[in-house]
Symmetry: C2
Subunit: 350 residues, 2 copies
DNA sequence: CTGTTAGCGCGTTCAC
DNA sequence: GTGAACGCGCTAACAG
């Protein structure tokens, strides 16, 4: 049966070489498709024979052995703390798309304990999405010892690694201020876990913006939910059933805003007409839905992140000319779409 | 500054050996804590000195080099197609918990294209959560050439790899039949993408069970939603607002059932009293909520999966005595909890 | 009992 | 197109 030679052992380059009647060097050149400097240097018939044997044996170069020699693993590691968060999925998607054409495989580390793992395992570049205070030292040390790092953290200085920042505060203020152009009764939809009424940058932007506008706080207008989409839906239903119902909702995440639009629709209130709804984060779902979601957020965040990471992964690990570790600071924009259009004195809802 | 010697290069075992004034063998023995056979053959002072130098240099053994020698990567790969699915998160969580004490790192592969990746990258064991028909050959070849595989797939025979099965059909029937003991007006809550009214094992169980019970199909009772939690919430609200509203809901996933309970509660219908709700999957969330969710599903699925995977990862890669590749077939159970209690002729809702 | 020597196992790559 | 050194950590066999 056309099938042959499988001892259950992984074939090595030497087995291929022997069966093809050539040297290991030749096999290596044929399969990796490169030759020191000069032209092809390997004849077509030989190349064909080698390829055939390799295929028959099911030979695959051993990445570990290759890494030891070249110092490159063709791998990037993504350390993601909240794998269930759509944010993480967007990171993964963007990096995968950018990595595929380069032959680089993204490996995801779901554990928050990247310190231990990165101590032993290495990759061409590593993205870390959260750094606890106690981990800052470890981070610096890793960078010192040759690990290429890209870190997402507000308020961390680059010390041998890149820092990506995305300051939410001002952007969130823009969102609330946008609503203030046409509304006075503005509710806030925010997960109870994220600090809610107490802390949380995104909530604080709401309460501060209202205060500045001279609007008194109204506890009824703070819709806390459990972090799930269904919870946001239910909380919105409650808000819009209030006797003096809000005419606008500021949701601290896009996915909550999406649920809010659905909930409003269900009650018979059209988003962008009867009630304005704005989100935070500028995720793709909001752009695609109907009515499209007004939101604030960085522009092309994930794409830029992925490009930086892969640029770092592919550029030779020059500890010397390290193309200066940089801070990538993302400016936030306001995206005025259908769910919360521009309002003026003529169209305001109060 | 206590700090020293960081050329930005990763320190090797030889650097440590030189600075500590010992041989690389000694360093290796000290840091790996093992010695051929006899007791600890390294004196305390030497060990201390080596450890000190290693620490100062930030030395970490190079996993690639270690792997090439030992054949073990201390890594398992989880190839997960639907990373956003709670099911995947449960797999990750269970494997992480089981792997940590063994010093094994789970690496997640978010891409569906495990064939290409596994061709080059290797791990002590690999879990694959979905096999497309065209990938079956590749699977067999990988197993032949020494990759330790655990595959989740209904209807695939083990050929050098383990197969985990979890036949949903009969279990789902049990769920619907449980409802049939006390109900006639039974709705089905199912994502439109999963085949909905057309295909889908879980939906088919519903329509077949009803047919057998002599209950005519009622299109109004099929609550299709978009796959999101908010969508399930909205669909439930619609179902329970029907003039002849259903007294029971069969949800094809636990998370949809959870959303349904919340939606019912919101309308003033108590789950398990006014309306019975049952899910599918036996996820942990359902067990913890109040009222607790009745459901069907395998018992300790993720725990058993994790244990099998790690057992395969740690047991020496003996292609010969491969402890027979097995089929792990998960029997489904009915978990009668509060949201859909036992009903008899005395307590039935019709 | 303590520590060293030397060679292994990979794929890569320079010099011939 | 080949030979052989190389980079890494591990470990059997040996020397003091």
């Amino acid at each position: 049966m056309g099938k042959a030679s499988n001892t259950g052992v992984r074939p090595t380059i030497r087995m291929v070489a022997e069966l093809a009647g050539v040297s290991t060097a030749t096999v290596s050149y044929v399969l990796s498709g490169r030759r020191g400097d000069a032209g092809p240097g390997v004849s077509d018939p030989t190349a064909e024979k080698v390829k055939a044997v390799a295929e028959r044996l099911g030979y695959r170069p051993n990445q570990a052995a290759r890494a030891i020699r070249t110092g490159r693993t063709n791998t990037v590691i993504l350390s993601l703390t909240m794998l269930s968060d759509p944010w993480s999925l967007s990171v993964i998607e963007a990096v995968q798309k950018a990595a595929a054409p380069l032959g680089i495989t993204p490996m995801i580390l779901g554990d928050a304990d990247w310190v231990k793992v990165l101590g032993t395992h290495s990759a061409d570049a590593v993205f870390v999405d959260a750094v606890r205070p106690g981990q800052r030292d470890a981070l610096r040390k890793l960078a010192e010892h040759g690990t290429t790092l890209v870190v997402f953290d507000e308020g961390l200085e680059p010390e041998g690694f890149d820092v990506i920042r995305s300051i939410a505060g001002p952007g969130c203020r823009m969102a609330v201020q946008h609503l203030l152009h046409g509304h006075r009764r503005i509710a806030c939809l925010t997960p109870a876990t994220a600090g809610g009424a107490s802390g949380g940058t995104r909530y604080r932007a709401y309460s501060e913006a209202l205060m500045e506008a001279g609007i008194p706080e109204n506890e009824d207008y703070v819709g806390l939910f459990d972090g799930t989409s269904a919870g946001a839906y239910a909380a919105t239903t409650r808000l819009l059933s209030l006797p003096d119902r809000p005419t606008a909702i500021y949701a601290t995440t896009d996915f909550a805003a999406v649920a809010a639009i659905n909930a409003a629709q269900r009650i018979g209130l059209a988003a962008g007409v009867d009630v304005d709804i704005i989100g935070v984060g500028n995720t793709v779902e909001g752009e695609r839905m109907s009515p499209s979601l007004s939101t604030v957020g960085p522009v092309d965040f994930f794409g830029k992140l992925a490009r930086l990471l892969l640029q770092r992964a592919t550029s030779p690990t020059t500890p010397d000319a390290k193309s200066e570790p940089a801070v990538l600071d993302f400016p936030w924009h306001l995206f005025v779409r259908e769910s919360a259009p521009h309002r003026s004195s003529a169209t305001r809802l109060y």
